[in-house]
């Protein structure tokens, strides 16, 4: 095995011995497809009929007028089949799985979007599928759990640790080390041991490539700023990839501020001073951990951002200054979501709403010849229980009570 790929001092491949052969095969296969035109074509055909790629870049005229500052564009990853950018990565890994001849796929999921995407890919490719999901996330993203099961996947609630994304990742690795012969672990974000950060970024970079073309097409110039929420970092790396070389484009990663980064309840690894470098879940990056190296509990209203680590590529881009990191807290995200819904008729996922929140803050104070792009990584349908609770929607509560009575009868 080679040493895992590093980005500055971040990355690497910290895996148990039992997985070494599996990783060698994976890296080998990934290297083969990276520059394979036929693979690219197959992938793009798949994404343009199974999903609706290229996804639109949408000019948010009303929000632009509302803030009376920069022109606001929105990249519509929410329109993807299964409702988020997660499908881009999963379908790519799905094609790899077929090439490797494996018959089973496992995945972790936080928001459930990666789980639904993986279960969907498994249904399409005829693979067995098991999804690990923290028990806390099972509760807050129930509709997605339901759909995964309908798609034929087994959803395993993980009751260990903080019962969120990181614990689901651990469990998925535990499954993998026992079943790697027939099983691929389709990691859902640009984290984990090499080659995952690179590979997930590679598949997600389709977002940035399209966006670059689209904005030039609309405006004949580059955007001033690009905003993306950062859980593990896959949607952010996806859209940032299209602009990394354009130094004049400011890239802004938005993390979960939870109850505020001045409290301990947040998941801001790069936007706060609370994280430090560590090695866990197979890679080296900034983690929210204590001085002993034990991972902290994190908090976010958005399950998909509620994670202790972050893409090693982003940790590096943070250190080099190429990407600026900000945090938006729960309340701000919900407010931003509500504004986007009411002004434009689009429903961002709770995760995406964080990117909206930060973009809104900055749009106000920009001039009208600036252009802002927000990556709408997903749609909010899955968040109905969370949003209803956030808004204390009485009719919803009444409806749920009514349904429950029916079930109790």
């Amino acid at each position: 095995m080679q040493k895992g790929k590093y980005y500055g001092k971040f990355g690497g491949c910290y895996i148990p011995e039992i997985l070494v052969a599996t990783f060698e095969e994976l890296i080998d296969e990934f290297n083969k497809i990276k520059n394979d035109k036929q693979f690219q074509e197959d992938y793009q055909n798949l994404m343009s009929t199974f999903s609706c790629r290229p996804t639109p870049l949408y000019f948010a005229e009303n929000l632009t007028k509302h803030f009376n500052g920069a022109k606001i564009y929105i990249k519509r990853e929410d329109l993807n089949h299964t409702g988020s950018h997660k499908l881009n990565n999963v379908m790519g890994q799905g094609l790899l799985i077929k090439r490797m001849g494996k018959t089973r796929v496992i995945a972790e999921t936080g928001a459930g979007q990666h789980g639904v995407a993986t279960a969907t890919m498994a249904a399409k490719f005829g693979l067995d599928c098991t999804i690990y999901m923290g028990e806390v996330d099972v509760m807050r993203q129930r509709p997605n759990v339901f759909w995964m099961e309908q798609l034929g996947a087994t959803v395993v609630p993980v009751c260990e640790g903080s019962r969120t994304l990181k614990d689901a990742i651990n469990e998925a690795f535990r499954d993998w080390v026992a079943n790697m012969d027939d099983t691929h672990y389709a990691l859902g974000t640009a984290c984990g041991p090499a080659p995952f950060p690179e590979m997930v970024t590679f598949f997600q970079s389709i977002i940035g490539k399209e966006t670059h073309k689209q904005i030039i097409n609309f405006e004949n110039k580059l955007p001033t700023k690009v905003f993306a929420c950062v859980g593990g970092g896959s949607n952010a790396m996806g859209i940032f990839s299209g602009f990394l070389d354009d130094k004049e484009v400011e890239l802004v990663g938005v993390e979960a501020g939870g109850n505020g980064i001045e409290t301990a309840q947040h998941a801001a690894r790069l936007a706060s001073d609370d994280a430090s470098i560590g090695i866990a879940q197979g890679y080296k990056t900034y983690f929210l951990q204590n001085s002993d190296g034990q991972m902290n509990e994190t908090h976010s209203v958005a399950a998909g951002l509620d994670y202790v680590g972050v893409s090693p590529i982003l940790s590096n881009l943070s250190e080099t200054g190429r990407v600026r990191f900000e945090a938006i807290n729960d309340e701000e995200a919900i407010e931003a979501l509500s504004l986007a819904v009411k002004k434009e008729g689009i429903v961002p996922a709770m995760e995406s709403a964080h990117a909206f929140g930060q973009a809104f803050k900055e749009a106000k104070n920009s001039s009208s010849d600036e252009i802002i792009i927000i990556n709408q990584s997903g749609r909010g349908d899955k968040d109905i229980f969370t949003i209803a609770d956030a808004f204390k929607d009485e009719k919803w509560e009444k409806f749920i009570k009514f349904k429950a009575e029916g079930y109790n009868a």
Partner: protein
């Protein structure tokens, strides 16, 4: 020197016994008592696991022990003190087992010097493959500590040669795919694998993952140098009676 200890002991015993504890589980006081029982029962080496919040390679039994110990507030500092106390008290080799982040956050150099200072013999760190572990390996070796590396059934012959060259003390050979604590079938497949392990290194071989009965150990006896009992002992602790540990180890132990 760990290797020498093992080879020497093997003159007297067909197979050595290595047991495992999670420091601070179920609490630090009991950990002392468990070690005492183990040593009294004649265990040859002991792995001391410093709890980590993300023990990716461990199955449910050890995972819960890690979490419980952490929930009780155990710190790395306390683990060091514990290790120091028992290493001074008992005359067998103690090893640390943990995940790399524990060493890294402590400061790799400091951690390793400290290990040396308190009299440990080596460490098993399952998530630092040799390719990523250059600094770790060289610091360990510089301090005469054994960086114990792992063979698995999926490790190729070539790779075994590479891995054992980085390792010292012994090779920790995992009996099967998967995490700690599940059943292992002690069958012919295993024999072939053990043979591969023995062929590829001069280091003693410790076999772990799923060893839990007198029969298992008899089966392994003569094939490997050390049998490792991990989760099974925690199961005994969980079932309540500490005195059962000594009984259990004595019952399964083999003397020449």
């Amino acid at each position: 020197m760990l290797k020498d200890y093992i080879n020497e002991k093997r003159q007297k015993k067909d197979i050595l016994l290595m047991t495992h504890i999670v420091i601070g589980y179920p609490n630090i006081q009991t950990s002392y008592e468990i070690i005492d029982s183990m040593v009294k029962a004649g265990v040859d080496l002991i792995e001391l696991q410093i709890p980590f919040s993300e023990p990716m390679a461990d199955g449910p039994v050890i995972l819960h022990a890690n979490q419980k110990a952490l929930a009780n507030g155990i710190t790395v500092q306390e683990c060091m003190e514990f290790a120091e106390n028992i290493a001074q008290k008992y005359d067998i080799p103690f090893l640390f087992m943990s995940y790399y982040n524990i060493l890294f956050k402590y400061g790799l150099k400091t951690f390793i010097s400290k290990m040396k200072e308190i009299g440990l013999y080596g460490a098993i760190v399952p998530d630092i493959p040799p390719e990523e572990g250059e600094e770790y390996i060289s610091l360990m070796k510089k301090n005469n500590l054994a960086p114990i590396y792992i063979f698995s059934p999926s490790t190729t012959d070539d790779r075994m040669k590479f891995v054992q060259a980085q390792s010292d003390g012994f090779i920790y050979s995992v009996a099967r795919k998967g995490v700690t604590g599940a059943n292992t079938e002690f069958s012919q497949d295993l024999d072939e694998y053990i043979e591969r392990c023995n062929k590829s290194t001069d280091l003693p071989i410790a076999l772990g993952f799923g060893v839990k009965s007198k029969e298992d150990i008899e089966y392994l006896s003569g094939k490997v140098d050390i049998a490792v009992i991990g989760s099974e002992i925690i199961r005994i602790i969980d079932n309540g009676k500490l005195s059962d540990i000594e009984k259990f180890i004595k019952q399964i132990g083999i003397s020449k």
